[in-house]
């Protein structure tokens, strides 16, 4: 009957049934217990695996857990930390800027450059013939200096100036123009130069020969 019902279920169950029929009762019980234990272990493993997968997927679903795993941790509460220094401290720590200063020194005596007085030209005027010269400043005008035979008593006074420099007037004789000397020296100059150079050369030559002469005597 067993064979008939199991006939359609396949050769594996047939073989199992055959093995079971060949075994004794004790052996049959042991074999069934082993199979049951194996089946139970498989069920447990598959259950635990499914739970693992659930935990993994739930952890994966939360990206925060991944981000948390890479974190160096929270900053400790009330920790001492360094921050940026204040701007004032930075500027204080900076080396002072050394700018080039203008050089100046104090003179003991204050001297002023004399300011030249402006030149005042007086218009030419004519003295009356009988006018005395006492009214003029003494040092400036001296009749014997200025006067000569060419200037009559009623001469025209050339324009003069007040100032620190005497003004050159056009009344004197013109100085002849200075002609520069010739570019080529004279024969005598040539001769003198040649003679001088010759003397120098002779002296040097003689001195050298004296030095080079071996010392004789003791």
């Amino acid at each position: 009957m067993l064979k008939q019902t199991d006939a359609g279920k396949g050769p594996l169950l047939e073989a199992i049934a055959e093995v079971l029929s060949r075994l004794g009762p004790l052996q049959r019980k042991v074999l069934i217990a082993c199979i049951a234990a194996l089946a139970g272990l498989g069920v447990f493993v598959s259950f635990a695996g499914s739970q693992d997968r659930a935990a993994i997927s739930s952890a994966l679903r939360d990206p925060l857990s991944i981000l948390r795993s890479r974190s160096p941790g929270q900053r400790p509460k009330g920790a001492l930390y360094q921050t940026k220094p204040r701007k004032a401290a930075i500027t204080r720590a900076r080396p002072p800027v050394i700018a080039p200063r203008p050089k100046e020194r104090v003179l003991a005596v204050v001297r002023r450059r004399p300011v030249p007085a402006p030149l005042i030209e007086l218009p030419a005027f004519a003295l009356p013939p009988d006018a005395g010269l006492t009214g003029f400043p003494v040092g400036v005008f001296d009749l014997p200096d200025l006067g000569n035979a060419l200037s009559p008593p009623g001469f025209d006074v050339p324009p003069f100036a007040f100032g620190d420099r005497p003004r050159q007037t056009g009344s004197g004789t013109p100085t002849p123009p200075i002609t520069p000397g010739g570019a080529v020296p004279e024969v005598a100059t040539w001769l003198m130069m040649v003679m001088g150079i010759g003397m120098i050369g002779h002296t040097l030559r003689r001195r050298t020969s004296v030095i080079n002469t071996p010392a004789t005597g003791s």
């Binding site: 952890a59 994966l60 679903r61 981000l67 890479r70 160096p72 900053r75 001492l80 930390y81 204040r86």
Partner: protein, 198 residues
């Protein structure tokens, strides 16, 4: 019982099951890249909550397998398509994450405001960018500056080290700041979340 799986084991299992290896042929020493990327299935994309209540979906995350050190960062935008860029600054985690088109392309440890000068949480658009900026409040160089608020809160390059804090700005490592500056445009949004422990 099985719910108390240690998260490290869970993450490791997830990584082994859901990551793709990056081509080892490219040997770019700098920037340091995360070797792997955690890609979420397109059917069940998670999202991150912003301080203003919005949610931003996340398509993938860089797999940084260990806590980052101060001054270190990761950057890997290979294979990430162009798209909208946004940044998430987490003050309690002391990290920043840069997302492009939903994929995380960079992350770094940050410095944030001291207790007396806290960094305000919120969602801010980038108001201005400046490659060579010098603070007129502190007379200090702040290269690669991304200004967030009109009163001076910005993301800029800084010497990120343990035991340091800012006056409200967000300091990132200089090389990371350079990469971030190249990515960010005016108007891109920066979410500063996670109030620091009071």
């Amino acid at each position: 019982m099985a719910r108390t799986v240690p998260p490290a084991l869970a993450i490791t299992g997830a990584v082994m099951s859901m990551t793709i290896p990056v081509q080892a042929a490219e040997t770019t020493v700098s920037p340091p890249v995360a070797s792997r990327r955690i890609i979420y299935p397109a059917a069940r994309l998670p999202s991150l909550r912003l301080p203003n209540g919005e949610r931003q979906t996340v398509r993938s995350l860089l797999d940084v397998r260990q806590p980052m050190r101060f001054g270190s960062y990761v950057w890997d935008d290979r294979g990430v398509p162009p798209g909208p860029v946004w940044m998430r600054v987490d003050l309690s985690l002391q990290t920043i994450s840069v997302f492009r088109a939903g994929h995380e392309i960079g992350s770094a440890v940050i410095l944030y405001g001291a207790d007396r000068k806290p960094t305000p949480p919120g969602v801010y658009p980038i108001l201005a960018r400046a490659r060579h900026h010098r603070s007129n409040l502190y007379d200090a160089p702040m290269p690669y500056m991304l200004r967030l608020t009109r009163d001076g809160i910005a993301i800029h390059a800084s010497n990120v080290r343990a035991g340091a804090a800012t006056h409200g700005c967000i300091g990132v490592p200089p090389e990371f700041a350079r990469l971030l500056f190249a990515q960010a445009r005016r108007g891109d949004r920066v979410a500063i979340v996670g109030a620091p422990p009071a």
